[in-house]
Amino acid sequence: MLKPGDPAPPFDLECALDGRTARCSLAKIPSELVLIFFYPRDFSFICPTEVIGFNKALKEFAAEETTIVGVSIDNVDSHLRWARELGGIAYPMLADPEGSLARAYGIFDENEKVALRATFILDRRRKVAYSSSCPLNIGRSVIETLRIVRALRTGQLCPADWTPGVEFGPTGRDF
């Protein structure tokens, strides 16, 4: 699994976006940060809570100059139907049917043949600024991910459970 500081593998994949098929290329994403969240499968019972959760928080992430990208091994048709089932998803849902992108990020579960629940936040230079993964049966916290994004954007030393408004750590340290 890629760790902070690693260069992010580029991608240019088909995706479902706003109810239609499109292409999504990392090189063409202009925002300061890119949040890539991998999830195991469409049409499951934990993934939708995350997919909808990130969709609901889309504006807050956009306010933090962050583009959200979802990825699973399902194809675009499945993503389109899944997004329709969920009431519409306004960020690109990338199709990675071979799992090649998941493998490039080091989070492909070879036993289950799906991507782990892994989150990567890429910085302006498209290097990994943050990465995490959790078991297939546990959903991620959208609020926590947003907190990380906000913390990363401060460029400061953020203590545990830092949230906007809380004092930063000592300055002038190389971290």
Binding site: F45, I46, S78
Partner: protein, 241 residues
């Protein structure tokens, strides 16, 4: 169009669930008693002693088989109940694991992931339906699997008795030493063939006679082996006497 009453079908399945005890009990009763008769006939010369020993063996066998079936079914039911309890507690705490598990099972059985998702989502609106479907599909557990230990024990004991009477009755009725064992074995052979045929009939098989022949073959082998062992140990009885 012919319709099947699910309640009636369910009752039929419940009755059929005793077929294992019936077939096992009858077969064991017939074979054990025929084996005892063959073995003792080889070792003991007096007809009445052989019949008495076979009667004692029948009583002990029926009680033992009944108790064994009861204890076995009870132990199985207790273990399954404990497992079901764990599964239900886990499902109550983490319903999504049940939903995901059931979804996977339905996909394995041929439903598309999308269709399986819709089925599971629909089932999730009635927690009891989701629970029972998940138990059956994911773990192969259901109410019928838990069985009825007391009934199993009684059925097994009676089946053994019925089976044992088959060779015993002609043996006791025909006192002529030349024909007693032959009559017992003939009755045994017919009964075993009949049990096999009956099992084939229940299973709606076209080659019911094949099941009968299988049962009969086993009986012949068991009887021959019992007789041979009786002959082999008869010198020991002579030495001890």
């Amino acid at each position: 169009m012919a319709t099947v009453d699910p309640a009636e079908k369910r009752r039929l399945f419940e009755r059929l669930s005793s077929i294992r005890e019936i077939v096992f009990g009858v077969q064991d009763g017939v074979l054990t008693t025929a084996g005892v008769l063959c073995g003792l006939s080889g070792a003991v010369s007096q007809h009445s002693q052989v019949a008495l020993a076979a009667l004692a063996s029948t009583a002990a066998g029926a009680l033992s088989m009944g108790a064994g079936a009861y204890l076995g079914a009870r132990a199985e039911a207790e273990v399954l109940r404990a497992e079901l309890h764990l599964v239900r507690a886990d499902a109550a705490e983490k319903p999504y694991t049940v939903q995901e598990g059931l979804l996977d099972e339905l996909c394995k059985e041929g439903l598309s992931r999308e269709a399986a998702f819709r089925v599971v989502r629909l089932l999730s609106t009635a927690p009891r339906a989701l629970e029972s479907t998940a138990e059956a599909k994911m773990f192969g557990l259901g109410g019928a699997v838990l069985g009825k230990p007391a009934l199993d024990g009684v059925v097994m004991g009676i089946a053994f008795l019925v089976g044992a009477v088959v060779p015993l009755l002609p043996y006791m009725l025909i006192t002529a030493q030349r024909y007693d064992l032959g009559a017992a074995l003939l009755a045994t052979a017919f009964t075993l063939f009949g049990v096999g045929y009956f099992e084939g009939w229940l299973a709606h098989r076209s080659d019911r006679w094949r099941s009968g022949i299988r049962f009969l073959t086993i009986a012949l082998i068991a009887a021959a082996a019992g007789y041979a062992i009786g002959l082999a140990i008869s010198p020991l009885g002579a030495t001890a006497g």
